[in-house]
Symmetry: C2
Subunit: 216 residues, 2 copies
Amino acid sequence: MNTSTEENYLKAIYHLSLQSENVSTNQIAASLNTKAASVTDMLKKLADKELINYAKYQGVTLTPGGEKIALSIVRKHRLWEYFLVEKLNFKWDEVHDVAEELEHISSKELIDRLDDFMGNPKYDPHGDPIPDCNGLFKAHELKPVSSLFLNDSGIISGVRDHSSSFLQYLEKMQLTIGKKIKVAEINDYDHSVILNSEDKKVHISRDVANNLLISL
Amino acid sequence: MNTSTEENYLKAIYHLSLQSENVSTNQIAASLNTKAASVTDMLKKLADKELINYAKYQGVTLTPGGEKIALSIVRKHRLWEYFLVEKLNFKWDEVHDVAEELEHISSKELIDRLDDFMGNPKYDPHGDPIPDCNGLFKAHELKPVSSLFLNDSGIISGVRDHSSSFLQYLEKMQLTIGKKIKVAEINDYDHSVILNSEDKKVHISRDVANNLLISL
DNA sequence: TAAAATTTTTAGATTAGTCTAAAATTATTA
DNA sequence: TAATAATTTTAGACTAATCTAAAAATTTTA
């Protein structure tokens, strides 16, 4: 078994790997709110366990074993988020911290039964795909609202920013997962966008448009 | 906040306190599968935090603050056990270890919502009372089968031994929570007991009779 | 391409929890 | 009640994870 801390490092490396091939010590330190020196120590430990490929100064990648563990943590995190929202009526901006704790409960039996109990959901409350018990998942084909052209339309299916302030903002604007939207206007000057959603016009900034993801 | 380890010590002291007024270092060591020296270290720490009353060589008791924390852990443990059995179809002998992990999830909001989700159950799958969100609970008035006389009857409402081997044995004998039983025969020689349960006779040893609890 | 800036690693401490072995205290019993 | 036994505490060491400060390596830039 691995410690929660090791699991958190593997998960962080997994998420960072989706952006850049080789993940740097500083990137990991930033994402875990820790110091580079601490990261180096842990990288040595994870490399000894053959969970990451690590060469001094060269950054890291996950080995297949490390990725398997990372995916099991992601699976647990997303299934617990789904449970909190769908069964316990938490709001989508309230679940992250609790799921960060729950994801380290080790029982595989527990998580597989929880998955069945909820009907094997494919996406969590933020639209992120939930790996199945073998670590497999199919991601939506998502693009940011900012990449759409005038009169393009789509369905809100995910977010790039998971911060509660962003999620609360979307909630207030009624731009939540599943809503159908259409681009009514694009402002050339500041790249803000006016959307049509359920017969109402919603004006969002370039930043928001960049972090709001659509499927067609 | 306290660490999981501190919580485990407080919980152990709480359970041991139900048996004997002052709890000894060795009792705690045995119940946590650790060594007396480790316990002494932790007792100092808990005393510094004013969670226990501790005088060298004299054993410990919980302070009101320590008891409050212990009860919150017991509440979480029992509610999670109820969830595992009632919602996820675990058997009553399979839930202990998972609940030992889940009881350390810190969110009070989570556990109070879980409580509501399940309809605020009063007893866990082993018949132990579940403290409410203020730490209050009413215990069943329970007595062991071994204390009954011929032709006495009652309802199986709890167990003294929580080991999975004992629980599995009861399951096999169909002596589970809620079953009505009547003492059909008491063997003077070995104190074994023959029970009538649902028109069937069940023969149990003195040991089993001692660990099986009845309400009238 | 050499100097400067940045990133990463090493060295050495610190904290929480644990351990063994030895010393101190308390309890038992003869 | 003095010797013995049992329990408890202290002393000193170890592991996991973290930190600061300094050294080493890499990258940037002029």
